[in-house]
């Protein structure tokens, strides 16, 4: 790659063996965005395995009717911890991990705007997560009631009041999320500031990689919605410890207000979680279709639109509360409206693939899988936006199947894609293609086996969060298939873990640019040095590396 050497000065990777102690010290005290990014993703993977274990226990319990594998109170704790972990300790840190690692590299910067605050944010998140899990040991409190939180991940009032939730388990839920939420707010602020102020020369708003655009909108959305959750949780703490009455119905307080506050955070949060998936799609699909992304300005517009509309859809979680007809109509329409920019994105990715020279590498397989499952997730989402339909199916397994299609078929598929795609950059080693393909096909099969049948018990009336059910309601076979699917997913996942360990130890050397890609992170070494770029790059188009590799036909002529 002589072209690269001429264009952008490449730093020299330092390679020395260091003692285990100094390596550990290095990682704990680091403020480097790349190390923090890796630690975010690694912690998220750890929590992902824990949450997956919890889900497996839940599915074993539900595999057959009248099962007594788990006692009911343990079942409540498991689904609460599973949901809370997946949203706050897997989805969020995955978002911040990839954003942390890639944003400065993609915009040609040497670090985030506030590196020490970045480290602070990471450690707040990690200790928030550990605090939540400490509840298994310390949640007993003084009352001997309850260990881990058992109020569900959205912790509806008045169940969270002192009268109904004794002991300290709910406090662990509040404080764990509050602490990690403060970290997330700081990191979102940090990333957005970086994107506003540290773009390299030439990188105007219309030349910003779409990954970074998505991350910017995502961070701004996080800033606006996460502090309301913090505020609501502070109110809950005041209720529990100072006898305040925010959500105390006996003193005139309103339990519905908590739902409004929680979902004002909770629904945009779904978009906060899924935007990294869009961001990853925007990078991987063009590279493996060998075409620039179709409809860049529309993609930016759709992203901004999703950011705004997502702030006005929250009460579709609350149709069964009994809102006014006007409110029902408004939230149904806004929920359907958000499908429009999302649909634009789907068509843009299809447009990118159309007529391209598609290479079905492992990252591209996951991205293609995303397209299928995310469209299904979107369709069931629009169905649930229809108020009478939602009245029928709210809090049923149909809803559970819907959001697992969003968060596994959508988010997790692209997270796997991102790990396979950027692993060579982070470690300098390739992941194994054969194991990767096994991982994809087995896991995807397991996913569909679990979650396609899950829609139907919901349609047949099976509510979510019940710890067991009677035989002969038409739910038995479907639940058994769902549970068997989990076993298949676990097999797929073990291929992934094996691949990860094996590639880390003895993967093929990757080189700087194994995928022949176009964004700036591929112009530096793999792994990049601490300062990223010896010289700050200058860009002229959305695909700076294409320009360098093809000086006779650069992109900036057409943009």
């Amino acid at each position: 790659m002589t072209v690269l050497e001429e264009g952008i000065a490449r730093p020299h990777a330092a390679a020395e063996r260091a003692s285990a102690w100094s390596v550990a010290h290095d990682w704990v005290t680091t403020v480097d965005h790349k190390k923090l990014g890796v630690m975010y993703v690694a912690s998220a993977l750890m929590f992902f395995l824990i949450a997956g274990f919890e889900a497996t226990l839940i599915r074993i319990q539900l595999a057959v009717p009248n099962n007594d594998f788990l006692p009911p109170d343990t079942f409540n704790r498991l689904f609460t911890m599973h949901g809370t972990t997946m949203v706050f300790l897997v989805g969020m840190p995955m978002f911040f991990g990839f954003a942390n690692y890639l944003t400065p590299l993609m915009i040609g910067a040497r670090d985030l705007a506030f590196p020490r605050m970045n480290a602070f944010g990471f450690w707040l998140f990690l200790f928030g997560g550990i605090l939540l899990y400490f509840s298994f040991l310390g949640g007993d409190g003084l009352y001997g009631a309850g260990t881990a939180p058992d109020v569900g991940w959205f912790a509806y009032a008045p169940l969270t009041g002192k009268a109904f939730s004794r002991g300290n388990s709910t406090d662990y839920w509040i404080l764990g999320i509050l602490v990690s939420g403060l970290g997330s707010t700081g990191t979102a602020l940090n990333l957005a500031t970086t994107i506003f102020t540290m773009r390299c020369p030439g990188m105007t708003w219309s030349k910003l990689p779409l990954f970074v655009w998505l991350m910017l909108v995502d961070c701004l959305l996080t800033l606006v919605i996460l502090t309301p959750l913090t505020a609501a949780q502070v109110m809950l703490l005041l209720d529990r410890y100072l006898g305040a009455h925010f959500f105390d119905t006996q003193a005139g307080g309103s339990a519905v207000l908590w739902q409004h506050f929680f979902w004002f955070f909770g629904h945009p949060e779904v978009y906060v979680l899924i935007m990294p998936a869009f961001a990853i799609m925007n990078e991987i699909v063009p590279v493996f279709s060998r075409k620039p992304l179709f409809g860049y300005p529309f993609m930016v517009g759709a992203t901004v639109l999703i950011g705004f509309i997502s702030l006005s859809v929250w009460a579709h979680h609350m149709f069964v509360v009994g809102l006014s007809p006007a409110a029902n109509t408004f939230f149904a329409l806004s929920t359907m409206a958000i499908a429009v920019p999302t649909g634009i994105k789907i068509f843009n990715w299809l447009g990118t693939m159309w007529g391209g020279k598609i290479r079905f590498t492992v990252p591209m397989l996951w991205c293609t899988g995303f397209l299928f499952s995310f469209v299904i997730a979107g369709l069931t989402g629009v169905m649930l936006a229809v108020v009478p339909w939602d009245w029928q199916l709210s809090d049923s397994y149909f809803v559970v199947a819907h959001f697992h299609f969003v968060l596994i078929g959508g988010l997790l598929f692209t997270l796997f894609a991102a790990i396979y795609y950027w692993f060579p950059k982070v470690t300098g080693k390739m992941m194994d293609e054969r194991l990767g393909k096994l991982h994809f096909w087995v896991f995807a099969a397991g996913f569909y086996l679990t979650f396609v049948p899950m829609h139907f018990p919901g349609l047949l009336g099976m509510p979510r969060r019940i710890y067991t059910y009677e035989a002969g309601r038409g739910w038995d076979e479907l639940n058994l298939i769902s549970s068997l699917g989990v076993a298949v997913q676990l097999v797929g996942l073990s291929f992934f873990l094996w691949n990860l360990v094996r590639s880390l130890l003895r993967g093929e050397p990757a080189g700087d640019d194994p995928w022949d890609a176009w964004t700036l992170e591929w112009s530096t070494t793999s792994p990049p040095p601490e300062y990223n770029f010896e010289q700050i790059p200058v860009v002229h188009s959305r695909r700076p590396l294409w320009d360098l590799k093809h000086p006779e036909d650069p992109d900036w002529r057409y943009e």
Partner: protein, 201 residues
């Protein structure tokens, strides 16, 4: 568009100098956005519960307009601006004077809040668990007062730098960023005043 000897095209020039907004200013603006969102939730809760307390004391019976405190806090926004103007002009002693005035005005506001709370708690028996008014009043006004306190701590830190002579005109930008926070705290008070003392009464 020119063609160089190698056949490669020379890219269009990047605007020089390539300037980006200041990190501190953008960071502070975003902090203000996040904080506004935080306060909005407490304001909404306050408005939602106006007139819904099941038992007294009610706002109309016990709340008095905090005129003096409000005047002090709002004028401190002017004095902090004058202080930064003095720093930019290189007049350090005038900076110290206006900066001290800002702190004293903020302090007077806090003392006013303290006296108001003392009266409400001791004379009227209103605490956070008394009724919905107490719940929403103490949390909203309390979080604002907490932000004033944090602001005062930071202002005092800068005053120490000023008095020890380590502040120079080139620090005007940074002190201005701090002043944005102070203006934000003031603006929140305008909202709190309207909601609690005008609408809520």
């Amino acid at each position: 568009m020119t063609t160089s000897t190698t056949g490669a095209l020379a890219p269009p020039a990047v605007p020089a100098p390539w300037t980006m907004p200041d990190k501190g200013k953008v960071g502070m603006l975003l902090l203000i956005v996040a904080e506004s969102s935080f306060f909005a939730i407490f304001v909404i809760a306050y408005l939602f519960y106006v007139g819904k307390s099941l038992n007294g004391p009610f706002p109309a019976d016990v709340l008095e307009l905090p005129i003096l405190g409000s005047i002090c806090l709002l004028s401190s926004s002017v004095t902090i601006m004058l202080a930064i103007r003095a720093l930019r002009a290189g007049n350090r002693s005038r900076f110290n004077l206006w900066w001290l005035a800002t702190i004293l005005l903020g302090l007077e506001f806090l003392i006013g809040t303290g006296m108001e709370w003392y009266g409400l708690i001791v004379r009227h028996g209103l605490w956070i668990d008394t009724n919905l008014f107490g719940t929403t009043f103490y949390s909203l006004v309390g979080f604002h007062a907490f932000h004033v306190t944090v602001g005062l701590l930071m202002l005092t830190l800068v005053l120490i730098f000023g008095l020890t002579g380590s502040l120079a005109p080139e620090h005007a930008e940074r002190t201005e960023i701090l002043s944005w926070y102070w203006h934000f705290v003031d603006t929140v008070w305008v909202v709190v005043f309207t909601v609690v003392y005008v609408v809520g009464r």
